[in-house]
């Protein structure tokens, strides 16, 4: 079999979000989603996926599940979704999908005061091809 080079998609979805600068001080979780932050049926808020995050740091994802054939959702701990967003880097091969996630401040909330709580949040990651039987592993 001819070896195939890993496909680096570095997929970054620019989600249309409306974030209220200066919020993140109250409604921040599944019971109470801030404006502009979607929430999954399970209650965890969904972080906006952006390429322009401020002071983004690599974070460890806790778990994942398949939403669609080529769409995964990962669980991470992050600040309120009104202040924080996520970015992903994906390396796909025939046998595995390796994913690295970063969490950072949304530019429009860079100067805002944000509640310093850690909230289990969801990050959607689009794949270049359906996951199929491939393993999902951290990308380090």
């Amino acid at each position: 079999m001819t070896p195939r080079w890993p496909r680096v998609s570095a997929w970054l979805l620019i989600a249309p979000v409306l974030v209220l600068v200066g919020c993140g001080l109250g409604r921040d979780d599944g019971d109470s989603t801030p404006s502009g932050a979607a929430s999954t049926p399970g209650g965890a808020p969904t972080l906006a996926v952006r390429a322009d995050l401020v002071d983004a740091q690599v974070v460890t994802w806790r778990s994942w599940h398949e939403v669609e054939k080529a769409l995964l959702e990962f669980k991470v701990s992050a600040g309120p979704a009104s202040c924080y967003g996520a970015a992903s880097k994906v390396v796909e091969s025939d046998t595995e999908v390796r994913v690295q996630l970063q969490v950072g401040r949304l530019p429009e909330a860079a100067e805002s005061e944000c509640a310093a709580i850690a909230i289990e949040s969801v990050v959607p990651v689009r794949l270049a091809a359906p996951l199929g039987a491939r393993r999902v592993e951290p990308l380090t």
Binding site: L25, G26, R27, D28, D29, D31, S32, V54, Q57, V59, T60, R62, S63, H65, K75, V76, S77, A78, G79, P80, Y84, R105, A109, A110, E111, S112, E113, C114, A115, A116, I117, A118, I119, E120, S121
Partner: protein, 335 residues
């Protein structure tokens, strides 16, 4: 000559508070579970509800089915026997006690981290949502202080559920909970936080069941900090917590310096610790003693801004009154 500190506001009246029995939500249920008096008694004897103390992995969550409430202490004991993994040799003596002497791991002024501080998990032990907190010395020996937004989501929100306090939490060691865990019994915050998300009132108290490896009160297990009220917004402070931007929030972090007044228009202190998500509720200790691991809580972590400046609410007499209400909750809020 330095400018004098802002006069210390004394607020003793007309400051509303709100409180509730700590909500417990089990997988598969949409509404909070309520305990009977018998269940509260059983959990008090056995160290809490195993449904809250247990670690709910996603697989366990998916596989879980609604359970009937245990009807006696034996049922709780059987469940706890499966879920706990403590060894008697790891039990830490009663207060005052210290967790470690990791000199150099913290800013110069703090050479010993205190086991009186810990991680406050939301949605159960080792979930992905957490704050920081610390035990304080009160007559009931059951009270933990944290931020208001750690017990209630604020305006338009609800009470947090499945809270557990883990003194000295350390995910870098083989035993993440060196003295065990303490389940929340009741929660308290100011009405101004719960209804208006007023950061001047971002203070919360958690009254806990007996728990931990000793099955005792939290203060009898790890000691309790003092509390300081009406002392002004500027003071030398040692700040503790579990910020996710330091070591992923797996271990306790500390920061020392001088807290200063945030603004003439509020009752809030600030210090540039750059403590990120997860540090909320961590104690701002005045006169922290490295030898005892104890100090006096004069504020708690509330927010972080884009420049790494943290802020915490001023502790006035209204905070003392809220603490005292929380302290009486064990006796007054039994089902």
């Amino acid at each position: 000559m330095a400018a004098p500190s802002k006069p210390s506001p004394e607020v003793t009246a007309d400051v509303g508070t709100v409180g509730a029995i700590a909500p417990v939500k089990l997988p598969g249920y949409k509404v909070a579970r309520s305990y009977s008096a018998a269940e509260v008694g059983a959990y008090q004897r056995t160290g809490g509800d195993p449904a809250v103390l247990g670690y709910w992995t996603p697989k366990r969550m998916e596989a879980a089915k609604p359970l009937d409430a245990p009807t006696d202490a034996k049922a709780v004991n059987r469940a706890l026997g499966v879920l706990t993994r403590k060894l008697p040799g790891l039990v830490t003596p009663p207060a005052p006690s210290t967790l470690s002497t990791r000199t150099g791991a913290s800013p110069a002024a703090v050479t010993t981290l205190s086991i009186t501080n810990g991680k406050l998990f939301i949605d159960g032990f080792e979930s992905g949502s957490w704050c920081s907190a610390s035990a304080i010395n009160t007559p009931s020996k059951r009270v933990v202080v944290t931020a208001g937004h750690c017990v209630h989501a604020g305006r338009g929100g609800t009470w947090r559920s499945n809270l557990v306090f883990v003194p000295g939490y350390d995910a870098s060691s083989s035993d993440h909970s060196p003295v065990g865990v303490f389940q929340a019994f009741s929660l308290r915050t100011f009405r101004a936080w719960g209804e208006e998300s007023d950061l001047n009132r971002d203070v919360g108290f958690v009254t806990t069941y007996n728990g931990g490896d000793r099955n005792s009160t939290v203060v009898d297990t790890v000691g309790g900090h003092g509390s300081s009220f009406n002392g002004g917004t500027e003071f030398e402070v040692s700040v503790f917590g579990y910020p996710s931007n330091r070591d992923g929030g797996d271990t306790m972090s500390a920061c020392s310096g001088r807290a200063t007044d945030s603004s003439p228009s509020d009752n809030i202190s600030k210090i540039a610790c750059n403590f990120g998500p997860g540090s909320s509720g961590g104690p701002w200790l005045w006169e922290y003693d490295n030898s005892t691991g104890l100090g006096s809580v004069r504020s708690v972590m509330s927010t972080i801004d884009g420049r790494g400046v943290n802020r915490g609410p001023y502790f006035d007499a209204a905070v003392r009154d809220l603490r005292d209400l929380a302290d009486r909750d064990w006796d007054t809020r039994q089902p």
